[in-house]
Amino acid sequence: MGIQTPNGFSLDNSGKRIVVDPVTRIEGHLRVEVNVDEANVIRNAVSTGTMWRGIEVILRGRDPRDAWAFTQRICGVCTGTHALTSVRTVENALGISIPENANSIRNVMQMALYVHDHIVHFYHLHALDWVDVVSALSADPKATSQLAQSISAWPLSSPGYFKDLQGRLKKFVESGQLGPFKNGYWGHPAYKLPPEANLMAVAHYLEALDFQKEMVKIHTIYGGKNPHPNWLVGGVPCAINIDQNGAVGAVNMERLNLVSDIIDRMVVFTEQVYLPDLQAIASFYKDWLYGGGLSSQNVLAYGDVPEHANDYSSASLKLPRGAILNGNLKEVFEVDLTDPNQVQEWVTHSWYTYPDEARGLHPWDGVTEPHYELGPNAKGSRTEIIEIDESAKYSWLKAPRWKGHAMEVGPLARWIVGYAQGKPDFTEPTNKLLTDLGVPVTALFSTLGRTAARALECQWAAHQLRYFQNKLVTNIKNGDLATANVTKWSPETWPKEAKGVGFTEAPRGALGHWIKIKDTKIDNYQCVVPTTWNGSPRDPAGNIGAFEAALLGTPMADPTQPLEIIRTLHSFDPCLACSTHVMSPDGQDMAKVTVR
């Protein structure tokens, strides 16, 4: 049966239904069902978040200064970004300003996360959608070396290096114990790389695995550990001491040197490995420009990386802020997270109930009561789902909308907003990549465009790391050692009631936290996270979300092997633990949640 959605997509669920559950190489639990037509082209897509943890219910009644630790545990992949959002939220509610050094250190930690997360995503979560590991076995090591040396100055590129690696890979495959590569889609016709490019990519998969553990040491130095470093309302917990007694117990010259050394290596790896690989892979896939979905229409970014401490205005934010509607790049709308009519969440197709489900609710006023039930046309039973009924409730994700519009968020959204604003940081590298690949700007609106934007952003972030680390050192040089403002640390200094909002751009996209504080305790806490935007189910008007939109129109070579589906889903870098959350309405008895 054909349906036209208000946001311009045609849905037809009459063809053969294909179920992918679990969707792997993501964070958390996701199920996707699609219908294909007779030519195996996807004509309907259904995205179901399949986990719910209730972190925000748990936050009620707790100390707002602890919220960063709880919300950080929403996600251990984008570790730190929820914590940063949370301390900003509490600081916003209580009117707490932070020292300039704390702003620089927070930016360094956030940008370290970007580089780490984007590289791990590309090589370890996404690469196998483009790279055929088994094909690498038939590569000529000499030709691989020539290819590698033709695109990069990266030193690990000799014929012997690739020969050794290929030997190791060969014996691994021959052992019959394929480990994580078992049952992969090797030999699938949607793989387009020659064996040499595959071998090079496998080498870099392993190199990136080695290197990622080095990058996170920046978090370890400033935050004590990774994953899940420590943060602080009012600043950062690490004190600076470069001259006095006990300097070895604080951020000192040795620590600053270690951070600086790692930053240098991150810049080199991004520019000599990640970007050349992205460009090489993209050059073989530039005819596979499916997966654009909402990106050519509606994109949203909150902005991040404040140049100046405590200034979260668009002018201070180095990552762009704004909304684009209907693909009109000439107009970038202002985004106001405190406006009750802008960000709202709906639950008509989510496993929650509202008193009035025809209305969307702003996070400060949201209501959440879990309500798991399958639609009348679902196949299977409540504990054995065979096919979802998307006409009813079908996901643990809510449907957030901006002024009623379904939006895409993430690296591509940020780059489109920055591009539309004409900021050289975003237009110049984008135009260069497009020119090098010989594709028009519209090629950005695709699975490949999403993947490319992430790589460009990684390079940008690596240079911001260097910038803010230098800024920190300059500030210390000028005699400013402050890392925390404790004037409002004590709850006695707080107003009886307060509310606030904080935001970041998580690696996966726009992230906002909203808080209400009453009598020094959390009265309400709500997170609207990137994958909730991208992976959202339908809203009452029938608008589909970014995952569902991106899958439409994609031809599948073999419907029993969902390679094209996971390729496009992975381009969003889904994070389901982030997206499935809940807020407790005022005075809700938790017994209601403990059902059946």
Binding site: K225, I240, N241, A250, P370
Partner: protein, 367 residues
């Protein structure tokens, strides 16, 4: 040795790694496990003669921080763990296959390696809503978990979620998330708590099982004694400042810059059993206290409900030294002995109060 099954030693020899490097690797591994020279030769022998153990890594309600931590391992490198030490046949976070192809691996492993594979569990099962707060392949995760555990040789409970329940089980635990030992009752379970656990602790536990063919010695809570038998406070490099009564009184104060003790800022080091102050994090770079924030006790059962994190421990029931820090601060020089005595007392109390039902000492030969 049957076709398709190779020993670790054969694999690395073929990869061109010398006997000398191999021996060095074994020595380092032995050193990291505290096993000494005899340990090194035992490891070498084990790795030369055993095939790679299949490992199935399942995810329940969690945040994936345990997987992220695991790939941070510096010794051994995780690529060597995956390519040469274990056969990580199923792990939703990194595996190539999805959907039916992924599910087929579970069935295949149960049949082919019945009673021989290790089940590693990250996260935990929710029991409310018929288990459908965590759906895996259209069914409740808890069912999948029990089904895969049934034919496993042993179970690893990664992190505080699988071990204790962690953040989703904090009050009021809306999904009724439970530690895995509440639903897996007939298998030996090694708990490796922490949010997340330290990378090298995780790989050491796997390497230990692989090497010695048995589970490590466990304490009464099911944790490997080698990493969880001492409190962070016992081995903290700031301990001297605690004993001397030198405390951070406020963030970024003079004491903070000098690296004084964080007890008054809420540090949970005195009640937390973990290896952070010895092994440290990310190849020994630092650990929370070294970077200026108190320990939040993330490897302890119920640590989320022992807050607020910035209230000093005198507010926590099982800690018995209320008000002592202030007194110590007043008479710094003479109190060292007192502090030690008090700590010894706390240890006894802690032991008695943390004993859990149905979770006794699994002993060294549980596997």
């Amino acid at each position: 040795m049957g076709e398709g099954i190779e020993t670790f030693y054969q694999v690395i020899r073929r990869q061109g790694i010398t006997r000398r490097s191999f021996t060095k690797f074994c020595s380092l591994t032995a050193a990291s496990l505290g096993l000494g020279a005899t340990g090194a030769s035992t490891i070498a022998h084990a790795l030369e003669t055993k095939p790679r153990v299949p490992v199935i890594w399942m995810h329940g309600l969690e945040c994936t921080c345990c997987s992220e931590s695991f790939i941070r391992s510096a010794h051994p490198l995780v690529k060597d763990v995956i390519l040469s030490m274990i056969s990580l046949d199923y792990d939703d976070t990194i595996m190539a296959a999805a959907g039916h192809q992924a599910e087929a691996i579970l069935v295949d492993t149960k049949e082919k390696y019945k009673g021989q594979y290790v089940l590693a569990v990250e996260g935990n099962p929710p029991l409310n809503e018929d288990g459908m707060y965590c759906i895996d392949g259209g069914r409740p995760f808890v069912e999948r978990l029990k089904w895969m555990a049934a034919d496993a040789a042993a179970v690893l409970a990664w992190g505080s979620c699988a071990s204790w329940g962690c953040v989703q089980a904090a009050k009021p635990n809306p999904t009724h998330a439970v530690p895995i030992d509440q639903v897996i009752r007939d298998k030996p379970i090694v708990k490796v708590p922490g949010c997340p656990p330290i990378a090298e602790v995780m790989t050491a536990v796997i390497t230990y099982i692989n090497t010695f063919g048995r589970l490590p010695d466990l304490d009464r809570q099911g944790r490997p004694k080698m990493f969880y038998s001492q409190r962070i406070h016992d081995k903290c490099y700031r301990r001297g400042h605690f004993d001397a009564g030198q405390f951070v009184e406020s963030w970024d104060d003079d004491g903070a810059r000098k690296g004084y003790c964080l007890y008054k800022m809420g540090c949970r080091g005195p009640t937390t059993y973990n290896a952070c102050s010895t092994v440290r994090w990310n190849n020994g770079v630092s650990f929370p206290i070294q970077s200026g924030h108190g320990c939040i006790g993330c490897s302890e059962d119920g640590f989320w409900d022992n807050g607020p994190f910035y209230n000093r421990l005198s507010n926590v029931r099982q800690f018995g030294i209320e008000a002592n820090a202030d007194q110590i601060g007043g008479v710094a020089a003479g109190v060292v002995g007192t502090a030690v005595a008090v700590h010894a007392g706390v240890t006894v109390v802690k032991r008695l109060t943390t004993k859990r039902n149905g979770n006794g000492d699994s002993g060294p030969h549980g596997g």
